[in-house]
């Protein structure tokens, strides 16, 4: 571990903290549907969309209607993408003449991008035509991110509402977020990436003769535009199979740093927006503090484990940290930080192979996801997931101070507890259930490359990544099979929508409640104690649920490594 490495991690957080309020304020304007400076240019576009689709952006929706419209929108997009992927051979924008995807791969990929997971069972450049990448996939990068943020807005409105049914209008939210937040940033971001050397072209392949006299094909494409939203929308689906480890996706140290910032920046801003929405920005800062503590804890362990390296290799005379599967140009610290960031947020982009991390170093990405992708989390999904934990934390805390629990002015009663538990149980049920199923079936057992705890970890990681809608791959697992494509597809779908629906029901239930002003008797949800309690609840619930699986996976792996046994 080096001072430089720690400076990188802390500097990273400091810059994000500085960006939190401005980004949060911008988000808050969109949350309220207020005019922004961009309305001069984009206002007519926005109104044009509404007119075309026959939508009244001011028509308020209750939670059921909001949920229904969100589901219709997402199912429609998923079916559209499935069709594009299956038919890509017959469609234009396919300079390489790539064949259509198999049904299970198209199914898996369509769900993957609809759910903001971007799990890639396919090898990007060698499977997807340019049109598929742009129309089938990049469109989801925007709209699944916008959906996530819109859902967070709906939940905020639930907390902020006073005896109302209204949670806003789904179509207006998605349109505004896409137009005034995601697109403008991506335009600037894409230009920055192009300037840094990321390709942006419709040409498919460049053929060159190398110095050795060999003819080599170098794949190009509209990389920069996909790269920008891949990070900003915590999507993570790379243009190339190697993702952000590929020099065309992630050419310089500066780009690497900016990519990490862009994964977190909206998540940070949303916490501020939440505080503002409920009338006390300290509520937002408290949530953010808890998230940052969880993040820094994970990043520190990961960095420490990777910097410590592998004792078996040390004995063989290979000094230093664990460099297996890492880009030499990034090194240990930037790779460990990237891994912690991409799994804390449900991005899933990778700049190193997590499978090649040390056992403990690789456990952090896994555990980050097992906490429910709430440490910053995916755009929107992170904060609404975290607020579900906050509901449980405040329930226990409320009882302990002898009052019916209340959070930001809303009483938390049996309906909220029931729905929160329902949503939180989705992750363990499907992660552990599907992993166990894959451990006892022939098709499941055919997947992992390795044996013993490491092989088990590969399966566990895949399902964790899918249900948590992260999309990062541990590697090592052969996932492009009907078994894994199918099961992971289902995992991604339930991991997204089985949480969203109860979450929206909570929003509806909260909105209908009276606002209870805080008094000295109500437990303050802004202080150090609350932050500690949040961290504790997230860790205890996540830890207690996944400890047996971790013990048989990375922990056994690590202990074996210490004893000199590698898998």
């Amino acid at each position: 571990m080096t001072l430089q490495g720690w400076a990188l991690i802390l500097g990273f957080v400091a810059i994000l903290l500085a960006l939190t309020k401005p980004v949060g304020a911008w988000l808050f304007a969109l949350y309220e549907g207020r005019r922004t400076p961009l309305h001069v240019v984009l206002g007519p576009v926005e109104r044009g969309f509404y007119k075309m689709a026959g939508i009244d952006p001011n028509a308020q929706q209750g939670w059921r209607r909001y949920a229904l419209h969100m589901l219709i929108f997402n199912v429609a997009l998923m079916v559209f993408t499935y069709a594009v992927l299956r038919l890509q051979f017959y469609l234009p924008g396919n300079p390489q003449g790539l064949a259509g995807l198999t049904p299970h791969l198209a199914f898996n990929t369509a769900i993957s991008f609809t759910t903001n997971t971007n799990w890639q069972s396919y090898g990007g450049e060698s499977t997807m035509s340019n049109l598929s990448q742009m129309l089938g996939l990049t469109i989801h990068n925007f709209l699944s991110a916008a959906t996530g943020i819109a859902l967070a807005f709906a939940l905020f409105r639930g907390f902020a509402g006073r005896e109302t049914k209204h949670l806003g209008n789904f179509w207006a939210d998605v349109t505004r977020i896409t137009l005034y937040l995601l697109l403008p940033i991506c335009v600037v971001y894409t230009l920055f990436l192009i300037a840094s050397g990321v390709p942006q072209t419709m040409a498919g392949v460049v053929n060159i003769d190398t110095l050795e006299g060999v003819r080599q094909s170098i794949l190009l494409g509209p990389v920069a535009s996909q790269e920008a939203i891949k990070m900003l929308g915590t999507n993570g689906g790379g243009f190339f199979n190697a993702n952000s480890a590929h020099p065309f996706e992630n050419p310089t140290a500066l780009v690497n740093f900016v990519q990490m910032l862009s994964i977190f920046v909206i998540g940070f801003g949303l916490t501020w927006c939440f505080g503002k929405a409920v009338g006390n920005t300290r509520q937002g800062w408290a949530i953010l503090s808890a998230m940052i503590l969880l993040f820094l804890g994970g990043a520190a362990v990961c960095y420490w484990a990777e910097a410590a390296g592998n004792p078996v290799l040390h004995q063989l005379g290979v000094a230093g940290g664990n460099m297996e599967g890492k880009e030499v140009r990034f090194g240990v610290a930037a790779s460990a930080l990237f891994a912690a960031v991409t799994t804390a947020a449900s991005c899933g982009a990778v700049n190193a192979m997590h499978d090649s991390f040390t056992a403990l170093g690789g456990m952090i990405p896994l555990f980050n996801m097992q906490l429910g992708e709430v440490v910053i989390g995916g755009v929107g999904a992170g904060i609404y997931g975290f607020l579900l934990f906050a509901i449980l934390a405040v329930f226990v805390a409320g009882l302990m101070v002898g009052r019916t629990p209340e959070y930001v002015g809303k009483k938390i009663e049996s309906r909220e507890v029931k729905l929160a538990v329902l949503a939180i149980a989705v992750l363990p049920l499907f992660v552990l259930g599907m992993t166990a199923l894959s451990c006892v079936t022939g098709q499941g057992l055919a997947g992992p490359l390795n044996k013993g705890p490491h092989g088990f970890g590969e399966i566990l990681y895949a399902f964790t990544s899918a249900v948590a809608n992260n999309g990062s791959a541990f590697g090592g697992l052969t996932a492009a099979t009907p078994w894994y494509d199918g099961l992971l597809g289902v995992a991604m779908w339930v991991g997204r929508f089985f949480i969203i629906v109860p979450m929206l029901a909570i929003a509806g239930s909260l909105a209908a409640k009276k606002h209870v002003p805080a008094s000295a008797g109500s437990f303050p949800t802004t202080g150090v104690l609350w932050v500690g309690l949040l961290v504790g609840i997230v860790l205890v619930l996540g830890g207690l649920t996944f400890l047996p699986s971790l013990a048989l996976g990375p922990i056994a792996d690590h202990l074996a490594m210490i004893r000199g046994q590698l898998f």
């Binding site: 409320g398 302990m400 101070v401 019916t404 049996s414 507890v417 166990a436 057992l445 649920t545 048989l552």
Partner: protein, 678 residues
């Protein structure tokens, strides 16, 4: 709750029936009401079957011990509930005795003719005659007569109370005894729905319904159980990947230690004991919901008289006017008050004698006493040609036209204002139409009440004093008593409006009242405590009845409500925190055969895998009876802000819950090893 009666928890008369009842409660129909304990029982039953038919490489002795401890876990839970119920049952038995064999003298028509009928035959609207020595057969309202009634059967207080027709003391309760005079009572409830019936049902816990927070907590516990079922149920799959298998008995042990059995076993006992504490405190809550609401109260409306100040005003000063001598004033005030038997009158006599050494012992024989009437609002005495009068300042001035313009009157008015501003009530004294001065009647704020309000403030509760006084006086008393706000010259409508206003702002309001005109406000308040001495209307409107009719008790009720919730929260936290240590006991024991490296997780250094598993399950079972006293008594509660309170409870039950099982399991492991059990 220092002055609540305490009783030993574990006396033979309570424990023995509870042991018996704990087996009766094993019936599935009873158990299903507590899902976590139901799961435990199902697992215990499953293992019992496997004990006979299973072949899994575990010794029968080990499995037998597991089965025994699993059943004990269930039994400890049912025992806790039975013990809590038993305490109420003893009380119900004595109430039943009061109710047994009540007969009524039902009046026929308006005359004095009556017939003897059993109390169970009485209907709403019947009028019964109750004579000296009779038990009142039904709840009702006195429609004629006045009587002193011994209500010890209900309140435990043997001093008789007055019940009379009209006014605020007209309600009578079945099972209480008239000890003098006779009254006619109009029946207000149908058989089986009276106060006594409700009280019996309540203390027995028969009508107990889960309160909203209890329901929410049960859902959380069920959720945790489901999550742990998933966590444990998937282990065989994981183990098969590692090329091994885990015996069902071990998985069952892990499951039971992880699911929140501790809090689940004690949950209903906590609820029953909470209601029971309230009953012991002589407060009767009509529902558990009301008790929980008491813990949430934000605003407390308190009547000034009797709650904040002692009921009677005390003379504290004489203020002479118009050049008259203060000693002369004291003497005149004494003479005018000698025949005045009100506490205020007596306090004037005491003040004159003690501070001004007026040595008149009694009125001369020829003195003519002028009694107080509501019309004149003046009382006094005529001795020979001396006419001494005392009364409200306005009344005295009105009684002597012309005096109002004198300098003495101006001076008197100024003094009147001063006294009002100081929170007192002035009485003017005049002799033969000449103003002598004013008596300062002081409202005496109860000792220690200021501290109580300070406590309430720390608990986050705002107190509002309700008084009929003018705003000036009210402000002074409010300042002296330390209440946060006051409502002066309050009418019943004002009270109702105030409650509605607070509720619209999202506040929960508690109040107490006794009169019929309090009934709407009592019904509107979230927590309405009716005084037992009050009218039937008030008792129906409130959701609690204070049998001692002590308005300050509202403060304790709030504490009890909070304590109830805190006990649940604290034990939930404790229960979940325990799981960490249990994992460290069982995970290495379970997996060490698959991956020997996992042995390092055995941080407690437990002797063998079997001993580790057994120790965890024994700890899990034994912690339940160990916590029964805490569940029944409730966690200690001191009024303080929510932040420090949470910090304290988290430290005790969270951190304590984390550490305690590490120590406990290690000790049990040593014992198990020492006895050679595993």
């Amino acid at each position: 709750m220092a002055n609540s009666p305490t009783k030993s928890l574990f006396t033979a008369e309570l424990v023995l029936p509870a042991i018996k009842a704990s087996f009766v409660k094993l019936s599935p129909r009873e158990l299903i009401r507590n899902p976590v304990m139901f799961v435990t029982a199902v697992v215990a039953a499953l293992l019992t079957v496997l004990l006979v038919v299973g072949h899994d490489g575990l010794t029968t002795g080990f499995k037998l011990q597991l089965v025994v401890w699993l059943w004990l876990t269930v039994l400890f839970g049912t025992f806790a509930e039975a013990l809590a119920e038993g305490r109420g049952k003893a009380q119900a038995a004595s109430l039943r005795a009061a109710k047994a064999e009540l007969t009524a003298k039902r009046l026929k028509g308006a005359g004095h003719e009556w017939e003897n009928v059993p109390a169970s035959a009485l209907k709403i609207g019947d009028v019964v005659l109750v004579e000296t020595g009779d038990l009142i057969p039904s709840d009702g309202e006195v429609v004629a007569g006045v009587a002193s009634v011994n209500e010890a059967a209900i309140t435990g207080e043997s001093a008789p109370v007055i019940r009379e027709a009209g006014g605020d003391r007209s309600a009578v309760t079945a099972g209480t005894r008239v000890i003098s005079d006779e009254i006619r009572v109009k029946v207000t409830v149908n058989p089986g729905q009276g106060f006594l019936d409700r009280m019996i049902a309540l203390v027995e816990g028969a009508e107990r319904q889960k309160t909203p927070n209890e329901v929410a907590l049960t859902i959380l516990l069920v959720g945790l159980t489901i999550i742990f079922l998933i966590a444990v149920g998937t282990i065989p799959g994981f183990a098969s990947f590692a090329g091994g298998s885990i015996p069902v008995a071990i998985l069952a042990a892990l499951l039971i230690t992880l699911i929140p059995t501790t809090i689940a076993a004690l949950l209903s006992a906590i609820g029953i004991a909470g209601m029971d504490r309230l009953v012991r405190f002589n407060v009767l809550a009509k529902s558990g919901r009301a008790v929980e609401a008491a813990g949430d109260v934000d605003v407390l409306l308190l009547d000034k008289t009797g709650t904040i100040t002692i009921g009677d005003r005390q003379a504290s000063e004489f203020r002479a006017v118009g050049g008259s001598d203060v000693d002369a004033l004291a003497e005149a005030a004494l003479m005018a008050s000698l025949a005045d038997e009100t506490p205020e009158g007596r306090s004037i006599v005491v003040l004159a004698r003690e501070q001004f050494k007026v040595s008149v012992a009694s009125l001369p024989a020829d003195a003519e006493i002028i009694p107080f009437t509501a019309q004149t609002r003046i009382s006094g005495v005529r001795i020979g040609d001396r006419l001494i009068q005392k009364g409200a300042v306005d009344s005295i001035l009105r009684a002597h036209p012309g005096v109002g313009e004198t300098a003495a009157a101006t001076q008197l008015r100024r003094i009147t204002d001063e006294i009002a501003r100081a929170g007192g009530t002035p009485l003017a004294v005049a002799e033969n139409g000449r103003l002598l001065g004013a008596i300062f009647l002081k409202d005496v704020v109860k000792a220690g009440i200021r501290e109580r309000f300070g406590e309430l403030r720390r608990m986050g509760i705002r107190t509002v004093m309700i008084t009929g006084d003018n705003p000036l006086t009210a402000a002074a008393i409010a300042a002296e008593a330390g209440v946060d706000d006051f409502l002066a010259q309050a009418t019943p409508e004002d009270k109702l409006a105030l409650i509605r206003k607070e509720q619209q702002g999202g506040k929960l309001v508690a109040m107490c009242g006794d009169g019929t005109n309090d009934a709407p406000a009592l019904a509107q308040a979230d927590v309405g405590v009716a005084m037992n001495t009050g009218t039937q209307a008030a008792r129906e409107a409130g959701n609690m009845v204070d049998l001692d009719s002590d308005p300050t008790k509202l403060i304790e009720v709030v504490g009890l409500g909070k304590q109830l919730l805190m006990t649940r929260g604290a034990l939930t936290t404790f229960s979940v925190a325990n799981d960490v240590a249990k994992y460290f006991a069982i995970i290495p024991a379970m997996f060490v055969a698959l991956y020997p490296g996992l042995g390092v997780l055995n941080v407690m250094g437990l002797a063998t895998p079997q001993s580790a598993i057994l120790s965890a399950i024994i700890f899990n079972a034994l912690i339940i009876p160990l916590l029964v006293p805490l569940a029944l008594k409730g966690v200690a509660y001191k009024p303080m802000g929510a932040g420090p309170l949470l910090a304290r409870n988290l430290a005790v039950y969270g951190l304590g819950g984390l550490i305690a099982p590490f120590v406990g399991i290690k000790i049990i492991d040593l014992v198990v090893g020492g006895l050679g059990l595993a």
